[in-house]
Symmetry: C2
């Protein structure tokens, strides 16, 4: 008979992926990071570059989410001294804020439940 | 200016994958289902068949988890009227029970947090 050991190993932890679903993947970590970078850089071009993603892929990602969710995430800023760029819409900002709060609370809760059963 | 809409679509829901990690994926939905079928059928062969998985793949999955977690999940039942088969160890059963409770509580909590921000 093999030796009994307590379940489970020290160093074990909970891992997870969470996303919003609306007839398929609707919004998650990738788009969230992309939008955060648009917010920071004022440009979808720069945000895409930062994520080592082609502009086309980034644009398609944003476009597909907008189509699925039914509202715009970005508007185009035209001209001015600094030239054009992208701005997050109010609905986009609202989505980002809620997603961020949701994600943080979910992480906290999952860790707590994990500790209850495996800590 | 595009029309404003409330964030987000009705019918949107939270989707997720959760697993236990110990220097990589340690235990999750697939192994849990396999062990539940071993429990039901009394045989890793039958459990693997039920999941349309080769016996070899099922055995490797179990073996790799046992090695990672440091305790046996299955023991071999030899002979008897019904022939041999597999039995879940006490530690295996303990892991399954805790995983099941953890998963159910995590689901409940994630849905609640989702409703708070997107419901």
């Amino acid at each position: 008979m093999r030796q009994m050991k307590k379940c489970c190993q020290k160093g074990m932890k909970v891992a997870y992926k969470i996303w919003l679903d609306h007839n398929g993947k609707a919004f998650g970590e990738g788009p969230y990071k992309l939008l955060k970078l648009v917010e920071k850089t004022g440009s979808l071009h720069k945000a895409a570059q930062n994520m080592h993603m082609s502009y086309r892929k980034a644009w398609l990602m944003i476009h597909s989410i907008e189509k699925n969710l039914g509202f715009p995430l970005l508007t185009t800023k035209v001209g001015g001294i600094a030239g054009g760029g992208s701005i997050i819409t109010i609905q986009g900002k609202h989505l980002m804020d809620n997603y961020e709060k949701f994600r943080k609370e979910a992480e906290k809760s999952l860790k707590k439940i994990f500790t209850k059963y495996f800590g």
